[in-house]
Assembly symmetry: C2
């Protein structure tokens, strides 16, 4: 019974799920930590490296700054996590930056947050996947040539998994996160122990090959700030848990808050640990091997532990990309319900996932990967800006929330959120200023563009809603309804159309467009022989067009007031194969298009399926007299 396409879809994405299974698709704390924290935790795979990439320009001495810069970022992380903890309890149904900013600050700040989030979710996928594939190509340099293809394949696999639904992705993805956590703890533990015991083999390349003149004053400050700005990518994903409160099993807010605490703690330890190790082991960024891979190779040696670390890094980065596959479609559906995005994003698909949002995200992410050749370092400067804009708007929104609600403790709550907002606002400015020429300008350009599109969509739906709103009562009235059936022979498809026409109106006229007067004489005589009580109107067509005389005839009918409403009933040949489609004129389609903008004209195609049993066809096949009646030649129907 299901079509081959449906069967293929079922194998790939599973059977449809009923709406009442939605509740069961929620996550417990352990799974939620795996699914929702992976974005934040996985950023240790690239955050230290991006900071080092800037510091290395300043020369060997500057590399020492990696540890204090990381410490400042961890401080910021703790502040933001505390600030968002409050959001979780204030917005138990999911306090995304868009919702919080829109509720408290107004539509425009809400849209800024929405645009920034849409950009960031896309970048989360592109950056995480590129970085994950870099973990693989660090271990197997021979694969480096296929990096872009591997990235795209990974995004497509993620898309397919997410189209199956959120629960299964939770179960499938918990294991690798915990493996990564174990591997990182091992790396940091073993690495620091060996270093402090003096048994570590410190890299020979601990200072840049060409020491540069040490910049001073403004240039120095600027580069340190840029290193800080790049390091801030470690904080991306912090908001994922507060966005996804509703995905937690009950009591959702409490579970979410606990998970947020765990996440912040793990991230802080890993980021600081990685930066310390990089400094102690004198690791420098390299275009062919990630910093984490270099650390693993030096600390574990090229054995099982090293490869486990690389695979775990890859796996958690894929999970991080998966976070965006949960958040982007959810935000798109909220925006869609608020009429800021097309309706198609609002509905859950067969498997209870927001299918269109998932597909759109995959396509955008693939586009970015393709444009930037899957290079993490090229993508990173675009990232984090949107995240900090959202942090700021969300926390500013929370300040307004506390000022309005005046709940117990509103003063210190507002103060906490306010400090957080100021800090992240400052970082946002640093982000744009220091990375502008390195790609940040793209984001500065794209966010307003997205806002324009969202507003345009909203305007369209508002106009539409006002236009179609109906306040009248009982719209029914007498209409003179004339039905026109274009004919070009006495055939079964024509007979079927005439049966339908006489069913829907008393006033039926068969219309024949006369291209060649010789052939029309024959039809006229056959028609009068047939004697079915339907008048045959013959229209001349000196220019051989079928459509123009037909349109003119209908226009004339309505202009003279003979008909209030005209239906054109066209027999439509539905061939069995693509080959048949090439051999039949698409007359029904052309007639439909010709009348589309005509007032009070409706075109109805009565399908005639070649070679298939169809009852409407059978109705006209009960040959009542056995002697051959006025049949039609093989060519007569199709030219109609």
């Amino acid at each position: 019974m299901p079509s081959p396409l449906t069967q293929f879809k079922r194998v790939l994405f599973g059977r449809p799920l009923a709406s009442d299974r939605l509740e069961h698709e929620r996550l417990n704390k352990k799974t939620a930590l795996a699914v929702l924290s992976s974005d934040a935790i996985s950023s240790v795979a690239y955050a230290t490296e991006q900071t080092l990439l800037v510091l290395v320009v300043l020369g060997a001495v500057a590399l020492n700054y990696i540890v204090p810069i990381s410490a400042v970022i961890v401080g910021l992380l703790v502040l933001v996590a505390l600030s968002y903890r409050q959001t979780i309890f204030a917005y138990p149904s999911g306090g995304g930056s868009y919702t919080v900013a829109r509720d408290n600050l107004g539509t425009m700040p809400g849209l800024v947050a929405a645009a920034a989030l849409l950009t960031d979710y896309t970048l989360t996928v592109s950056v995480s996947i590129s970085s994950g594939i870099a973990a693989i190509t660090s271990a197997y340099p021979a694969l480096a040539h296929h990096a872009v293809a591997m990235c795209i394949a990974a995004v497509l696999v993620l898309m397919a998994v997410n189209l199956r639904g959120v629960r299964e992705s939770g179960i499938a993805f918990s294991v690798p996160t915990y493996v990564f956590i174990v591997m990182m703890l091992l790396l940091i533990g073993v690495g620091l122990e060996r270093f402090y015991q003096g048994t570590a083999t410190v890299s020979a390349a601990s200072s840049p090959a060409k020491p540069m003149t040490f910049p001073v004053g403004f240039a120095f400050t600027f580069l340190i700030l840029r290193a800080f700005a790049e390091g801030c990518v470690a904080m991306t994903g912090t908001e994922a848990i507060s966005n996804g409160v509703s995905a937690f099993k009950g009591p959702s807010p409490r579970n979410a808050a606990i998970t947020l605490g765990w996440m912040a703690g793990i991230l802080a330890v890993f980021f600081l640990g990685t930066s310390l190790l990089a400094r102690h082991y004198g690791i420098l960024p390299s275009p062919t091997e990630t910093v984490l891979s270099q650390l693993g190779r030096q600390i574990f040696g090229p054995g099982l532990l090293y490869y486990s670390l690389q695979y775990a890094t890859f796996a958690i980065l894929v999970l991080a990309a998966n976070t965006a596959f949960a958040d982007f479609p959810r935000l798109a559906s909220i925006l869609s319900r608020d009429s800021f995005m097309p309706r198609q994003f609002a509905a859950r698909g067969d498997r209870l996932a927001f299918s269109n949002g998932i597909i759109a995200l995959a396509l955008f992410a693939i586009l970015l990967i393709w444009l930037f050749h899957g290079d993490t370092s090229a993508l990173i400067p675009l990232y984090a800006i949107g995240v900090f804009v959202c942090f700021t708007l969300s926390q500013a929104g929370m300040v307004v929330h506390w000022l309005r609600s005046r709940e117990p403790g509103w003063k210190w709550r507002a103060a906490l959120n306010g400090v957080g907002a100021c800090a992240t606002a400052l970082v946002s400015i640093v982000q744009v200023a220091t990375k502008f020429t390195h790609g940040a300008w793209i984001v500065v350009l794209i966010i307003p563009l997205i806002i324009l599109v969202l507003r345009r969509i909203h305007r369209h739906y508002e106009h539409f809603g006002r236009e179609v709103a109906y306040n009248g009562q009982a719209p029914f009235m007498f209409l003179h309804h004339t039905v026109i059936v274009p004919v070009n022979g006495i055939t079964k498809p024509t007979a079927g159309a005439l049966v339908y026409a006489t069913t829907i109106s008393e006033d039926v006229r068969a219309v024949y467009v006369e291209v060649d007067p010789n052939t029309s004489a024959e039809l006229k005589s056959r028609w009068s022989e047939w004697d079915i009580g339907v008048e045959l109107v013959v229209l001349e067509s000196p220019f051989r067009s079928i459509l123009r005389p037909l349109v003119a005839y209908v226009d004339d009918l309505t202009a003279r007031g003979e008909a209030d409403l005209v239906t054109v009933v066209v027999p439509e040949i539905v061939p069995r194969s693509w080959f048949g489609h090439l051999l039949h004129n698409k007359t029904a389609l052309f007639i439909r298009t010709a009348f589309l903008f005509r007032p009070n004209v409706v075109v109805t195609a009565v399908p005639y399926l070649i070679g298939r049993t169809a009852r409407l066809r059978d109705l006209v096949t009960h040959d009542q007299d056995l002697e051959p009646g006025p049949g039609a030649g093989p060519q007569s129907q199709d030219a109609a």
Copy 2:
């Protein structure tokens, strides 16, 4: 009033012409000679060259064979021309090889001729245009890089001219043919005079740079035969006049016969003359300059006369391609009327030309030029085979014609056609045998393929004709007709659909597919408030699909025998812009597709045009009560 596209079409192709202007579009003898003989006459631009290309392999002595080989071909030309003269009078309405072979030998030989002709017309365009552009690049070697692009541009210009209609192309194209005739007479006259007076500067390269060992026996004979086979391209186009008798002004057959005589005479003189000159002036084929260009440069010197010759050569070759633009669409329309090609090729367009045939020919010719990089020598081996197959079938058909008709003089007429048929049959075999590995195999493969496709098309139309043939009487009967209107809110588009539904049947049911039970309660209460006398059926949709419950409901209605015929009336939003199209679900289209293969179900879309005045809309806009009735929110309509 006309759309921008229509206006553009008019500027490019002219205003539509009425059918009764067809008679006036016919050609007089002088114009017909220019239009229909150009194919044959223009072949002197490449026939001598292709023969030399083979002979040069045999060494210096063999080049002497060019003159006797050319003489044999001229003899063959005279024989074929005399033979075709008889066809003109026997088939005054246009005796193409297809018609003659089909009438006298049967369907299969007719199809062989048709397939061969379709191939050859396409090759006529490709070869003539490539060779014409070679005449230009011989004069301006710097343009050689752009040869393929120039070829394609030339084909497109020809296509546009032909879409304007045959008369104008006749007038536009007579002048260059006569210029070419004058230039060739000058070239041959001056060239031979100078040679016999001994004032000619004979080329230094009169013998091949590397004299080869002279092949003997079989190899020698084979190469001489191949040289002959290649030279036979001179005869391509000889059949054009007998195919196009109906394009002549009356008395058509007499005028056509006179024109055929002139054509054969001119071609014979030019071909023999060119071959003589090539021999006397010791011309060798070169990849960068045509033989005719080398002759012109040596005889005229690099002045005005030389450039006139090159331009005239180019012009007549374009005209030769134009012959195919008259013949291919005409043959396609004949095949289409015989149900061997799709219907779309049968009808004359706005300008009385067979538009679809013209466009198809242009596309195939461009494909060939592109595949063979616009290289005349690479295309030539494919050419001429089909022509000689047609010569043979056509003349064999004429033999049968005379044997059947027994008109006065039937014996010598049959004998003449018989000798011609035998000669061309022999040449056909030589063509395939000697050129097989040089590309002739492609034609040997393609002709049967075309025949297969033609037969498959014919079979489809025959089945179709038998299936739709209607012999019943008075198909009308009482049908219980139920109309279903899917609704998702009380909006103007819905009201419009309901107005239409109540007009076409007494039994109308509004159907609401309930995806979210919360929102449906509101609609139900609004509906009972509205009180329009149409029942609201609510269908549950546990899997959130709109279509599946709807299809199940309709299936159930017909299965229980409640309805003989069901019409689903869908309000269809027609947005004003592409942007709007993205924002509205294509629900009407999906519903149409879902019911396409259901028996006795017709889907009718009632268009609602956003922001346009449409009377059916106005019918439901006369708000009868001023207090706000049960209106719909902005989002309710679209999700239907």
